[in-house]
Amino acid sequence: MSEQAVDTEPLLAVRNLSMRFTVGRGFLGIAGRMTVDAVTGVDLDVREGETLGLVGESGCGKTTLGRCILRAYRPTAGELRYRRDDGTVVDLAQLNRAQLRPYRRQIRTVFQDPNSSLNPRMTLLQIVGEPLLANDLARGDELRDRVAEALRMVGLRPEYMHRYPHAFSGGERQRIGIARALITNPRLVIADEAVSALDVSIRSQILNLLEDLQEQLGLTYIFVSHDLAVIQHLCDRVAVMYLGRIVEQAPTEELFSRPRHPYTEALLSALPLPDPRLRSLKKRIPLRGEVPDPANQPAGCTFHPRCPYTRERCDTDEPALLPVTDTGHVPHLSRCHYADTLELEGVAARTLEPTSLRNAEKTSGAEEVR
């Protein structure tokens, strides 16, 4: 993220966004209706050219939030203020289908599962070229040229454009998905668990590709993932979600080294670190119980039934997402009453213990020899 990007108007400003689903209860819905608050009052700024990570456990609403921004869902409340090329701002949440059309090609997505998100009966040319046809951007030879260019960009050979998805491996299929997302020259790409289904060696190839493309094309990413290691590697800023709310939002380094919300600390402590020597140094924060049912959320702070630091105030007062004091120019927000007083432990503190530091030096030395 460059310095001047901080000062300019965000590319997308999400304000008080909520998404409520109404579902039937009981067999075929005969026991009446109930509501599930998947996303509640989310405020989020996405700045041009940055990578914003959305992290949380399954059921926390990160995918729903991503889909609301894509306007695959119509949010029940809130605004999606999107800054157009010419600098004017439009609220995507209020637009109807026809009005949304021009924005459909500016905000694109890469899906998690490369096997089920590609139509097995379409060739690469049809799959990757479809967004161009649908938006009436190109046809005929021009379409072919642009598909070839997109395929080349993601590291696939253009000669393959008449083949079907089954002829490609998992990693290549994910490249096809990325080519399809990028062919309309989008400004914002939402990658929903885009590397979660891939093997280690393929995952690193795709992560590097995403970084290269961002640099070349000046893309903005919203990267949805449950994998904190991938998030730390790729993202400039991170928003942690729990039960439909953002509980903490901060620049990546700060979030990992000094978390300000107990849930973030627990998430970080649960992360297995690929270094066996850290086993004994590690302090794990045990979380009691499980994520509550989003249809039946606890009163007060939604995290209080599982929080190891909970106090009386937490079960009645719901905290707001507020900036913590003593942070730099990029705000560090936390939804905790005691964000300023709790001494929470991040990852860096653990890995920089003196003993492990020596080990780290030793291994980096070994790498240089190689």
Binding site: E57, S169, N208, A229, A266, L273, P274, P276, R277, V347
Partner: protein, 386 residues
């Protein structure tokens, strides 16, 4: 967590004096399909010591799950074990060795058992002997508990059935043991949960129920096939802690299959890295992470994003992809993607197993090392180092 690392450091010394619990040698399993033969497991060697955890890591399609299933003869047709031995230490006076087995194959295998070591690969896959091993001596848990538990029976019913298959106990007693087993895996209100169905439980609770079921008969070895892959990080941490705790409590050994190197670092005593049906490196967990010898292990470690100060560095990649199972490369299976491949050597010769013993035994299959001695020093052939 402190007590865990202590045992991890003291165990190898104790383990060396003991004979291995499970010793897999030259195991080959292949699937004969109309389109061609898939050599899913192509000469695997593994050693599990009593009370220790051996992690098997590798990418999808490397044969780690088939290896685990082959140990228990659970490979579905057209899969077939074609060669190799799976020597399991059942103990010299195990009733299995004196019992009458209707199958001729079982009789022959039991007759040739020496010092209480039985070759599981020689048993009849449908015979009485392997059934007495499955669930009782070696238990297995799977990635997706929803698929491997019955949706139409209660949890309690399944555990009771399991206990009564292997032990001569009354229904009442078995039910009490089922409740106790559920309590030990940390399921709240086990007296009530024993009568619930799998769909009543959350993902983490289901995996706990699966562990309770697997451990109800106190197996000597637990094979865990990616048990935490479908779970969230916080739930994964809980399940890993639980498995460690139970392993220590029961003195059980574990064969843990995973693709996540973070999980390996957390729980393993020893690690076996698999690539295309072959164990390319097997060694202690510290040696693997801090002094890897096989080029594939090195590449794998470098391509993982790490949380911590080095998170932002660019990831190393392994070029290309895992070859298609129908056309395996000749020679070393990794030579098509290896950085240090030696043309004329790596593509013709299947690397032999090189073994050094310092600390825990380390075995590597790589032609870069001319001899076991060179492997011990970590020096590669001259033409490569230049």
């Amino acid at each position: 967590m402190n007590h865990m690392s202590d045992t991890a450091t003291t165990q190898p010394a104790a383990a060396r004096s003991q004979p291995p619990l499970l010793e897999v040698r030259g195991l080959r399993t292949r699937f004969e399909l109309p389109e061609g033969v898939v050599h899913a497991v192509d000469g695997v060697d593994l050693t599990v010591y009593p009370g220790q955890t051996l992690c098997v890591v590798g990418e999808s399609g490397c044969g780690k799950s088939v290896t685990a299933r082959s140990i228990l003869q659970l490979v579905d047709p057209p899969g077939r074990i074609t060669a190799g031995t799976v020597n399991f230490h059942v103990g010299p006076d195990h009733p299995l060795l004196t019992a009458r087995h209707p199958s001729r194959r079982d009789q022959a295998a039991v007759r040739s058992a020496r010092d209480g070591v039985l070759d599981l690969a020689a048993l009849d896959p449908k015979g009485t002997a392997i059934r007495a091993i499955r669930g009782k001596e070696i238990a297995m848990i799977f990635q997706e508990p929803m698929v491997s538990l019955s949706p139409v029976h209660t949890i309690g019913h399944q555990i009771v059935e399991h206990i009564r298959t292997h032990e001569d106990v009354s229904k009442k007693e078995a039910r009490d043991r089922a409740i106790e087993a559920l309590r030990q895996v940390g399921i709240p209100q086990p007296e009530r949960r024993v009568d619930s169905y799998t769909f009543h439980l959350s993902g983490g609770m289901r995996q706990r129920a699966m562990i309770a079921l697997a451990l109800a008969c106190r197996p000597k070895l637990l094979i865990a096939d990616e048990p935490t892959t479908a779970l969230d990080v916080t739930t994964q941490a809980q399940i890993l802690d639980l498995l460690q705790e139970l392993r220590e409590q029961y003195g059980m050994a574990m064969l843990f299959i995973t693709h996540d190197l973070g999980v390996v670092a957390e729980i393993a005593d020893a690690v076996a890295v698999m690539y295309l049906g072959l164990v390319v490196e097997e060694c202690g967990v510290d040696e693997l992470f801090h002094d890897p010898r096989h080029p594939y292990t090195k590449a794998l470690l470098e391509s993982v994003p790490v949380v911590g100060p080095r998170a932002k560095r660019r990831l190393a990649t392994i070029t290309g992809m895992v070859p298609h199972p129908y056309d395996r490369p000749t020679g070393c299976p990794f030579h098509t993607r290896c950085r240090d491949t030696m043309p004329g050597t790596c593509d013709t010769t299947v690397p032999p197993v090189l073994t050094t013993t310092e600390g825990r035994q380390r075995t590597v299959r790589c032609l870069l090392y001319e001899s076991a001695e060179a492997l011990h020093r970590g020096t590669v052939r001259e033409e490569v180092s230049r």
